[in-house]
């Protein structure tokens, strides 16, 4: 399942594997036990390319539960939980940055 591109995976810091849940598209993160969570705080964090590749392999083998898996950089906050480092991943964690119509 792992593409040649992913085999050359290089990571530069703490990394998690993220995807979208098959049934409803909700953003999920891979946990250390191989399950998926809709909370980034539960994600398995890896620090080496080998570990990231291994985790990505687990994710890709589970595409009946989550699709489009890829590694995402995180930073570790003072309380030890992972936080997204770029805007795209912040939006995936927190949802659109705008008030949704009708919600006001």
């Amino acid at each position: 399942m792992t593409s040649p591109l992913q085999q050359k995976l290089k990571i530069t810091g703490p990394t998690v594997i993220t995807a979208n849940r098959l049934t409803d598209g909700v953003v999920v993160w891979l946990k250390a036990d191989g399950g998926w969570s809709a909370g980034l705080a539960d994600a398995a964090v890896v620090n080496t390319s080998d570990d990231a590749l291994k985790l990505l392999g687990v994710a890709n083998a589970d595409e009946n539960r989550a699709v489009g898996a890829y590694p995402a950089r995180v930073e570790i906050a003072a309380d030890g939980t992972p936080r997204p480092v770029n805007l795209r991943e912040r939006i995936r964690v927190g949802g659109p940055t705008i008030a949704l119509p009708g919600a006001a």
């Binding site: 098959l22 409803d24 699709v67 939006i91 940055t97 009708g102």
Partner: protein, 550 residues
Amino acid sequence: MYVYDEFDRTFLQERVDEFRDQVRRRLSGELNEEEFKPLRLMNGVYLQLHAYMLRIAIPYGTLSSDQLRALAHVARRYDRGYGHFTTRQNIQFNWIKLEELPDAMADLARAGMHGLQTSGNCIRNTTTDQWAAATPEEIEDPRLYAEIIRQWSTLHPEFTYLPRKFKIAITAAKHDRAAIRVHDIGLRLHRRDGETGFEVIVGGGLGRTPFIGKTIREFLPRHDLLSYLEAVLRTYNANGRRDNIYKARIKIQVHEIGTEEFTRRVEEEWAQIKDGALALDDAAIDAIRAHFKEPDFATLVDDPPELEAAKADPAFARWHANAVAPHRKPGHAIVTLSLKPVGGPPGDATAEQMDAVADLADQYAYGEIRVAHEQNLTLPHVAQKDLPALWRALDVQGLATPNIGLISDIIACPGLDYCSLANARSIPLAQDLTKRFADNDRIADIGRVHLNISGCINACGHHHVGHIGILGVEKQDQEFYQITLGGKANHKARLGELLGPAVPESDVVDVVERILDAYVELRTDPKETFIAAVQRLGIEPFKERAYAAR
């Protein structure tokens, strides 16, 4: 209004059943993602950042009030209570669950709607003038031909797997409201020596490599429409590059082999099929025409006293001058409903608004609604005497912002708030701009300006053809925006010119304001529009001002 027949309904029901089965097999693991993805795309289902997105076609931009109610129902029942009208006469729902998609589609199918031909490498939903069959400028209802194209292209065996998606737009009016010169094929209905036919424009498109389309035939008799389109598609299909998605669009082919050679190949192909099965006769065209029921227009006169009296209210007078256009029938008018309220996401409508517009369409507009590529709604047939009451009702729904065609009537794609391909956000920028330009006197004084925003180079927000175009780029995880000036989407379409280095998000609104301040100072008189001033002066004076304060 096009009236679907039994065949169409059965066909849609079968497609829903088929998709229901495909979803079931995907959820059970019988189909893997690679197998399923093309199937969902064929039905208009994308996977976005947070959820599945469902894109529903609104063929030639025409909706009945019941169809709009069906969209409101889907928004409420399966989504989060709103939808996004796009630049290609589609609506997108952003929060649909895969598990519930078949039910949503079944509900839509009952109203004659679907997501076919809204994604994938097929001939997409043919778009047209939202003022079709209403504007006095037009020579014939272009939707007839859009429907003829729809019937020919839906599941055309030869064209279901094209090298790339293929978009057709058609207009029958002098003023092009359908952006036909930035489509793969643009068709302009016109008359020559008493005969009706098409100017055929090929190879327009935006995206990474934008081109204005080239005219390959000045006049194509209308009976030859399908055979000629088939010849264009075959020429493209035979030579199209499938090896490189960036080069697979017809615009690249026309550019690489040249307009003349491309035309020669099309004409050669056409000569062989011209008189074959695709030739349209009058009976075939009339049969389609019979499906477009003209409303039973009342006999009325222009400028009735109720209307004249209402103009004493400056707020009504302002809206009337901005959002109401002449109709071909005396005593009637075309009304544009702004989906660009100050501070709102451009093109979004809530389920409540959709239901309200459906009711107003029944009450005042013969039950018909149109979707404009500028991401607004239109009531094409309203009696002038009803305009004051309609305006009051629209105002309650936040649909009467008098900004049609003005700086705050922004086209914007979903951008990074929703889209997995985005570099930067589009919607918050649009919101900030509408807040800066919230003063109705000021925006009316600035006059006609089209500002278009895309969150990445795919150009879904048409930034290349905005008078002011804004393109989101990313630099070291920060949002930056490139600004272009001088683009146009109409019959004199041209691409905008890059103003200079990209500016950070926090500066964009100021830069736009400085550009417009410069225009107000530099225009010869208030009648010289922004775009005319840019064409007269070039971008230099605007560039100087735009970057002055940095």
